[in-house]
Symmetry: C2
Subunit: 193 residues, 2 copies
Amino acid sequence: MARPREFDRDTALQRAIEVFAAHGFEGSSTPMLLEAMKIGRQSLYDTFGDKRTLYLEALRRYSEESTGATLSAMFDSHAVLQGIEQALLGFADDAVSGTSRACLGIHAVTEFGTSEPDVTAVTDAVAHRTLLAFESRLRDGIERGELAGDLDAMAAAQFLLATLSGLKVAARGGASQATLHGIVGVALRALAA
Amino acid sequence: MARPREFDRDTALQRAIEVFAAHGFEGSSTPMLLEAMKIGRQSLYDTFGDKRTLYLEALRRYSEESTGATLSAMFDSHAVLQGIEQALLGFADDAVSGTSRACLGIHAVTEFGTSEPDVTAVTDAVAHRTLLAFESRLRDGIERGELAGDLDAMAAAQFLLATLSGLKVAARGGASQATLHGIVGVALRALAA
DNA sequence: CTATTTATTGACTGATTGTTCCATAACAAA
DNA sequence: TTTGTTATGGAACAATCAGTCAATAAATAG
C-alpha cells in the first residue's frame, strides 16, 4: 500500500527494553532511546505512541519472554527439585550475561511500586503466573515425597519468587555467577526432604 | 554570630530520603524535594550542595540506620537461628510499615547498578558489612550445632542478603506482612540443622 | 546603636524534557 | 504515470529541569 518502514519493529523494541532496564523510565530520555533504537523521533511516536506507551509495551514484552524461559526450564526436568534448580540457575545465568545486568521487571517494581496501575497490572500478572507455576510444581514434589512433607507450598512459592528478585538485585549489584549459584544452592535446602 | 537556619537539617534530610526512595534519583525533581523537605531552593544548595550530593548523603544516612537496626536485632538473641529470624522479621515489618514501602538502598542498586562509583561505594560497603555479620553469626551457629553442619557460611550469608533484597522487592510490590513472614519461615529452613 | 555574617525569598538562567508540525521521500495500487 | 498512503527528517513547541544571582531579612558582636 505505502512506504514500508526502514527498521524492524521488534529489534527496535528490544533495544528500548535494554535502555529502560538500565536506566528506568525516568532515567531514559527520548534522545537516549532514539539513539539506542536507531530510529528517528517521528518514527518512535508513529510506531509506539509516546514514551509511556513504549515503556509499557517494553515491560509486557520483557515480562513474557523472561517468565516463559524460567518456567519452562522448571518443567524440563522430571524431578521436581532438579527442575526448580535448573530454573533458578538459568535465571541466575541470564542475570549475569550481557553488560547491563539490569532487569526491567525488577526496575519497574522498585521505580513505581504500586502507584501506577498500568505498570502494576503487568508486574502483578507475571508474579501471579510465576507463583501458580511454582506452587503447582511444589505441590507435586511434596506429594511425591521429593520435597519436605511439612512444606507450605504457597509460602515456598512466594519464597522462590523472592529468591528470584534477590538474585536479580545481587546480579545488578555486581555479584559473580559463582555467588549466585551459591545462593541457589542454599535456597534449595529449604525445600529438600 | 549570624542568622540561624529556620529548619532542622536532619528532618529535612529524612524527608529527602523518603522522596528519593519513592521516586529514585532521576524521578525526584528539585521542586518535589523542596516541597517535601519544606525548605527554599537556595537553602537546599547552601546546606546540601547540589541534588547529587544530597542524594549521596541521603543514601549514606539511610544505609547506616537501616543496616544497624537489622544487624543489632540479630545479636539480641543468644540462639543463632532465633536471632536471624528476628532480624529478618524485623526487616520485613519495617518494609511494610509506612506508606511508600520503598527502600533507598535497593532503589539505588536497581537504578545505577555498578555504573556510578560514588553510589557503588555506599551499596558495596553496606553489603560487605552485612555479609560479614551474617557470616560470623552463621559460623557460630554451625560450630555450636544450632545450624546444619554442612552449611557453607559464606554462601548462606549471601543467601540471607539476597533474601533481604527479595523481601524488600516483594514489599514494594504490595506483598502483605503475612506473606513476608511466610517467606522468612521458608528461608530459615535452609539453615536449620 | 552600627557592623557583620548568614538565611531566606523570588526572579532568572541556559539546557533539556516530551511532543508535534510540516515538508519531503518512498513505496504500492490503479 | 498518477494517486493514495505512510515513513522519514528537521525544525519548532511549551514546559520543566538543575542551578545561580541579587536583594531582603534576621540574627549576633562590638
